[in-house]
Symmetry: C2
Subunit: 345 residues, 2 copies
């Protein structure tokens, strides 16, 4: 297993260290190459993602990324030039974001139901296409545009993936989230594709919700969701909210996947670089560890992935949530749990 690791900015390197500790317990022979990309490199060299590095990344089985973003870098530079560039260059069309309320974890909701959903967020088009511009900048007649691009090809592959996932789950329920009553063109394409693909999945029940209504149900009735399929921007928004109601982005893992396997997929915690707590050794590495489980699942190492998930579930059920321990201590605990499962399992 050849893995590229991009620790990145802020708490990225801190949580990645623990994620690799846990990975070492299940795949000790993993070959790991680190790539130093992010704010520091940009400041030092002006480079974001050199072609040569991109070429090397492509040679790996998967990529593990910590976080990208720093307040010292103008907004958008690292996000568009590095993180989104990776997602687009490597054709990460399925942005997979599970949200589960683990036993023992406190939700901000008063009366949380069982929550266990997977959001399949489109990852390579929509309003994220980077298609837009400024006209007459800094004049009273300035115009700024952002074009959401949606293709039959791009929507269909994601919808198919979402249906396949739904068909493999217990509840077999899929919700399309969009804003078809306002974004009528993109909404029409998404709706038609979902309708067409659903004909091949009579076992999967299908629902539709407008994105605004979905945010309401995410706090009043999140148990209703099984698989959600949605566009890049709505997926960005909904997955942060889903993470919040299931105990916070400190626990949310994600996979940026090329499900055709032509390019390496990239796994990352959803939390970002969190510059406010960086360098203090207090970041929770759990989301990074769960991202390793998604990575292993993608590479077919399902048994190892289950062991990591079970260890996280055990730790969350038993940890003192007021003082869960330092970053390294949580990593040590999870590594020990994973390793003890080896012996007992």
């Amino acid at each position: 297993m050849r893995l590229a690791v991009i620790p990145g900015d802020g708490i990225g390197p801190e949580v990645i260290a623990e994620a690799l500790k846990v990975l070492g317990e299940v795949v000790p022979a993993a070959e790991i190459t680190r790539y130093d990309l992010g704010a520091a490199r940009w400041h030092a060299t002006g480079e974001l993602l050199p072609e040569s590095v991109l070429g090397e990344l492509r040679q790996h089985d998967a990529i593990l990324l910590g976080a990208v973003g720093d307040p010292s870098v103008p907004s958008g530079i690292l996000e568009r030039g590095l993180l989104l560039r990776l997602r687009f260059e490597l054709d990460h069309h399925v942005n997979l974001r599970p949200a589960r309320l683990y036993p023992g974890v406190r939700s901000p909701l008063a009366d949380p139901p069982e929550i266990d959903m997977v959001v399949v967020r489109e990852g390579t088009e929509g309003p994220y296409a980077g298609n837009g511009g400024l006209l007459r900048k800094d004049t009273p007649h300035e115009i700024a545009t952002e074009v959401s691009l949606n293709t039959s090809f791009g929507v269909e592959r994601v919808v198919r993936d979402a249906f396949a996932r739904a068909a493999n789950r217990q509840r077999r329920h899929l919700t399309l989230v969009h804003k078809t009553n306002v974004l009528t063109h993109a909404g029409s394409l998404w709706s038609r594709v979902v309708e067409e693909v659903s004909l091949q999945h009579p076992d999967v029940t299908v629902a539709y919700q407008h994105v605004d209504a979905a945010t309401i149900h995410m706090v009043t009735d999140p148990g209703r969701y099984d698989v959600i399929v949605t566009d890049n921007l709505f997926g960005d928004i909904l997955t942060d909210l889903a993470a919040a109601v299931t105990g916070g982005i400190g626990l949310a893992a994600s996979g940026n996947m090329d499900v055709t396997r032509r390019n390496p997929s990239m796994f990352e915690p959803v939390h970002g670089s969190a510059p406010d707590i960086a360098g203090q050794g207090i970041a929770d590495p759990t989301a990074a560890v769960l991202s390793v489980a998604l990575l292993l699942d993608h590479l077919g190492e399902h048994e190892s992935a289950r062991r990591i998930e079970a260890s996280v579930a055990f730790d969350l059920a038993t940890r003192d949530h007021q003082s869960p321990g330092a970053t390294y201590a949580i990593g040590d605990r999870l590594a020990a749990l994973v390793s003890s499962n080896v012996r007992t399992g």
Copy 2:
């Protein structure tokens, strides 16, 4: 006071009846003209908003709207052809949406703080501009676009309005919500305008949040918000979420305002037509009643607006939230409270 009333679809007519009952207590001389627009008219005549009706609407001081939308009409027809058309034709650039957690109202949050915010949602541009299309429809090469249009003119007038509102509130805090790290062109315009206008409001503190992060804080720390200013789509999403955490869209009022007063502003509950409970007489008319208060405020009838708000606050603090009563009963109660305030105030 000349008011145009559009009861509309679903529970619209039911809640409007109660809103007018309450209005009658404070402005008995209001001259009211009803306009029959919505699903029924579209089915009967194919008309959505005839030019002649639009011309008549313009002759009024304000418009009170119940709700628009019905499952029997394809998605987008009534929304784009009637509701959004009204907002755009009448230049309703400030879409004002207060969200307050009233004493006695149960939030879905476990530990809700005091919540009292106002969202100033841009209402006439952004992704709602209706600028987009389909190419090669129903082929494997289909492309659907949606263009977000943002102008210096359009953004600045809304940002100015938001700052003015913030300056008049106790906490004098304004949060810009956008996604500047991805939608870099529109984000750049919005950020620059906020920065420029803030120079004229040194008394107002300014914060920025990405829309995804804002949804997290809306459930983990909603007390932080005072005034939020944001674009049309983010405002749509955030205000439903804000309504949810403050007890549901059954209580959320809104104003679609042309703050230049060249066109009549339009006031409506946020809840929509709710076809699932229409015709049963069980819809809560409180949001429609609070929309009347916003309408009166806009027309300078501040005293009457405060009386209605106080009556709603009293009713919410004392009502049995398990069985708040039928639509007409809540309306009767609120009308009685408003009228008794007349005598005692």
